[in-house]
């Protein structure tokens, strides 16, 4: 877990603070600094055949499900041998073999899709689950409501994970909803609704584990609200002056990575030296992935016309295009 937390942190750091500033990232940059525990604590316990639908900030889900780091960097840098071959940006990376369905920008749209994924699992008599992430701002969208209700009515194996990071762009939670905890919404649909410290990876793990177990038994969906904080601007171009300084300070103290380190050190599961070595390894991994991406070609213009439809000689399946 520490490995994935740190790999996520370092990768996103590189994207937001180095590559973006060097103009090497194409398009906008959204990262999940401070919220890594949610993706890691949940994705890490999925089995083969499970599906995760990450939010725009869940970098770690991709790593854990086995997307090579270099592929992810290629995607951020719009390269031809990235998984979307330059068609899509950021974390809009889909891979059905690895059980990953990416977000689209209209927020909340993946919640109904997660229902359909779980419906198919049910029809196919599989004991798998679908895990969908979204922000507290996204919870205001009608699609989230329709999906949670549908999942409850049909007893679908969907885990709705809301990462409540206190802001939706510049909008704070009291302008987003008029309740204390979104978790109470579980009861509004007839599913468990729990809140958990989203900066405590072990707590996230345990809470999600319960929900998954429930779903695998056929008892239907759950709703989990992970309280966390967005430790950056909304995107790399947002200085986030609307966020009070003291809030940032308060949440810095709860950094999920430092917390896990402290926990592991205290129990002597790892040593300071292990951590230093891990940091080195990760730095190298990221260096390599970045170098790979930077050396990769951009796609060629005429490819833009290909692959609108899936047909007999599907462009995506033609040889010589894979990285």
């Amino acid at each position: 877990m520490l490995y994935y937390l740190k790999l996520t942190r370092e990768s996103e750091f590189r994207i937001e603070k180095a590559l973006y500033r060097q103009g090497k990232i194409v398009g906008g940059v959204y990262v999940g600094r401070g919220q890594e525990a949610i993706g890691v604590g949940s994705a890490i316990q999925l089995s083969e055949g499970d599906v995760v639908l990450p939010s725009h900030r869940d970098f770690s889900s991709f790593l854990i499900r086995g997307i090579p780091l270099k592929d992810i960097f290629c995607n951020w840098m719009a390269r031809a041998n990235g998984p979307t071959r330059g068609r899509e940006n950021t974390l809009h990376i889909g891979n059905l073999e690895r059980g990953l369905i990416p977000i689209i920008s209209p927020l909340g749209d993946t919640c109904p899709v997660a229902c359909g994924v779980a419906l198919a699992m049910k029809q196919q008599k599989k004991k798998n689950v679908a895990l969908v992430h979204f922000g507290e701002g996204t919870s205001s969208r009608g699609d989230v409501h329709e999906a949670m209700n549908l999942a409850a009515v049909m007893k679908l194996a969907v885990i709705f994970i809301c990462n409540n990071n206190a802001y939706a762009y510049s909008t704070s939670t009291e302008k987003q909803y008029a309740i204390e905890d979104l978790a109470v919404r579980g009861a509004a649909y007839g599913m468990p609704g729990v809140k958990v410290d989203g900066n405590d990876v072990l707590a996230v793990y345990q809470t999600v584990a319960k929900a998954i177990a429930r779903s695998r038994k056929g008892d239907g969906p759950s709703f989990i609200e992970c309280k966390t904080f967005r430790m950056t601007g909304h995107s790399a171009h947002d200085a986030a002056e609307y966020v009070p300084e003291k809030l940032i300070k308060r949440w810095e103290a709860r950094d999920p990575i430092l917390r896990l380190e402290k926990y592991l050190l205290a129990r002597q599961i790892i040593s300071r030296k292990d951590i230093r070595e891990l940091d080195e390894t990760i730095k190298k991994e990221v260096d390599e992935a970045v170098a790979f991406a930077e050396a990769s070609p951009f796609p060629k213009g005429p490819e833009a016309l290909e692959g609108v439809y899936c047909g007999p000689d599907c462009w995506w399946e033609r040889p010589g295009k894979e990285s």
Partner: protein, 324 residues
């Protein structure tokens, strides 16, 4: 050969596909017990069971989204919209999610969204709309509109087997008003292919849906006056059969574009552009549109009648064009 109504033909088409392929299933509001507001899915629950004939809450967006998710997992959902007017409530999921997935990351989304559209039954502004152009203008979708029972069966089957999201419009006026010979066996009508419903020499009438019958009615009348209309039924609007349109226009030299949908931004415009670009030299007269005016669909019978194109209006336009 058995004679079936349009609605029976659609039912038979879905039914056969469900028999053939266990991944095909039906989902929508009141489609199970009740068999659908227009009884398209009548009897399917008994035959195929609850896992494959699924009633949902009133949540068009979630229904479309869920169908997309199921399709990604290898299923072939056939979604019913109780009326195509309500597809607007699931619009974002169609145009932003389902339509773009294959282009964006290569996954297949084989699904059909079908339901009744069109006017002529005094349904008022919300049970009469023809909204196919929203989807004709969305790359990644296919759009299909049958006008005969034979085509209805062949096209719904081809749509279900297609690997892409297909929006399948059924004209509610035709459900029980037309009947034709529909083979019992398995056959497909290919998507993207038009049909010449009547050969003619003077004016090509390019149309689709219920207006095919209007065109045929006008053609029969005008024949007596010595004006010969060729009637082309597009059947698919996206992709549409450019070659068939151009062939008919080139043959006749004159063309009328006819649809029940409103004028500005309608399919007739798209066809006019194709013709104006690719058959310009063959044109012997202006490109004429006969369509509904740019208003919502009004309710009262005299208003609705005035709103809708009909054989008289088409004949008037054709006479004028013939004399050009």
């Amino acid at each position: 050969m058995p004679v079936l109504t349009y609605v029976e033909a659609i039912r038979q088409g879905i039914w056969e596909e469900m028999e053939r392929d266990p991944s095909v299933f039906v989902i929508g509001e009141d489609v199970a017990e009740y068999g659908g507001a227009f009884k398209v899915t009548d009897g399917m629950l008994e035959r195929f069971g609850r896992d494959r004939v699924i009633d949902t809450p009133i949540s068009e967006s979630a229904i479309v989204g869920a169908a997309t998710g199921a399709a990604l997992m290898g299923m072939r959902p056939v979604v019913e919209m109780q009326f195509m007017d309500f597809i607007a409530c699931g619009f974002d999921q169609i145009v932003n999610m389902a339509a773009k997935i294959h282009y964006r990351w290569g996954a297949k989304v084989p699904m059909v969204i079908r339901g009744p559209s069109g006017a002529g039954v005094h349904g008022g502004p919300y049970h009469s709309q023809s909204n196919e152009m929203w989807f004709v203008h969305t790359p990644g979708l296919k759009v299909v509109i049958p006008s005969t029972a034979y085509d209805a069966k062949g096209l719904i089957k081809a749509s279900i087997r297609d690997e892409n999201p297909v929006i399948f419009y059924e004209h509610k006026f035709l459900y029980r008003r037309i009947k034709d010979e529909v083979p019992d066996e398995d056959y497909l009508v290919p998507l993207g292919r038009a049909a010449v419903r009547r050969e003619g020499a003077d004016i090509a009438v390019i149309t689709y849906g219920a207006m095919v019958w209007t065109a045929l009615e006008a053609a029969a009348e005008l024949e007596k006056e010595g004006v010969s209309l060729e009637v082309v039924d597009l059947r698919s609007l996206l992709p549409y059969d450019e070659a068939a349109v151009l062939a008919s226009v080139r043959k006749c030299g004159k063309v009328i574009l006819l649809h029940e949908d409103t004028r500005t931004g309608g399919m007739a415009g798209e066809l006019a552009a194709l013709i104006g670009e690719r058959a310009f030299d063959d044109l012997d007269g202006p490109i004429i549109r006969v369509t509904a005016p740019d208003t919502p669909v009004p309710f009262a019978p005299p208003l609705e009648e005035y709103f809708l194109p009909n054989a008289q209006k088409l004949m008037a336009a054709a006479r004028k064009l013939a004399a050009y």
